[in-house]
Symmetry: C2
Subunit: 135 residues, 2 copies
């Protein structure tokens, strides 16, 4: 049961034109077509599109997301290649997460200061991030 582009769009909560755009950018592979030229998507295309939107929400560019989506193990071949790409990606995710947690701690400090009625005149987020500045 193939889906039309309209159904995929509705399912994933995006515009039809966005799906065509993703196709042009190589994030979605070219689907089959009916004789009339209508795109025919497999049902799980919706999941792929949702993934794209979530990853964008996390601050990845479409280029990066294209890379994420390309990561998969194909029959043991080129495994080393894929595994090292996966490792590198994982490292970047973790670094990102660490920085988020640093901001989190800064905010917590601020909230505490606030509760105690102390004023922090300088920006606490900015201060809190200073130690990590050189990487």
């Amino acid at each position: 049961m193939a889906l039309t582009i309209g159904r995929v769009a509705k399912g994933a909560g995006v515009e039809i034109s966005t799906l065509r755009y993703y196709e042009r950018r190589g994030l979605l592979s070219r689907p089959g077509r009916t004789r009339a030229g209508y795109r025919q998507y497999p049902e799980d295309e919706v999941l792929r599109v949702r993934f794209i939107r979530r990853a964008q929400g996390l601050g990845f560019t479409l280029e990066e997301i294209r890379g994420l989506l390309a990561l998969r193990v194909r029959g043991g071949k080129r495994c080393g290649e894929v595994a090292s790409a996966a490792h590198a990606t994982r490292d970047r995710l973790r670094a990102r997460c660490r920085e988020l947690l640093q901001m989190d701690r800064a905010l917590s400090r601020m909230i505490r200061a606030c509760r105690q009625g102390r004023a922090t005149d300088a920006c606490p987020i900015l201060e809190a991030l200073e130690p990590g500045v050189d990487q």
Copy 2:
């Protein structure tokens, strides 16, 4: 010892034009000027700019970063307001971090599968994220 725009740019690793752009967008407050009209920045402006770049790397828009930079406790006044904004921001950071860790786990699974010579034909990241799809 005030800094010229060129020194701030060099210190923060950005273009001069970018600093003027940030000023227009309200991320940097208008600095004092010399009689000749040259901008005069306090030394810690460099830190502020570095913070902006890091936050951008974490996927925040300039608008969001403007909000982050505005969060500070001013002499106990408007504390409730600021604290609730800080809480909300912290919640968003944590949600973001959780999603990153979800992707992290997906990658780890893939790396394990790879080591064991198993092929995962579907995209493992995509699969791993499915449970979280509905929020």
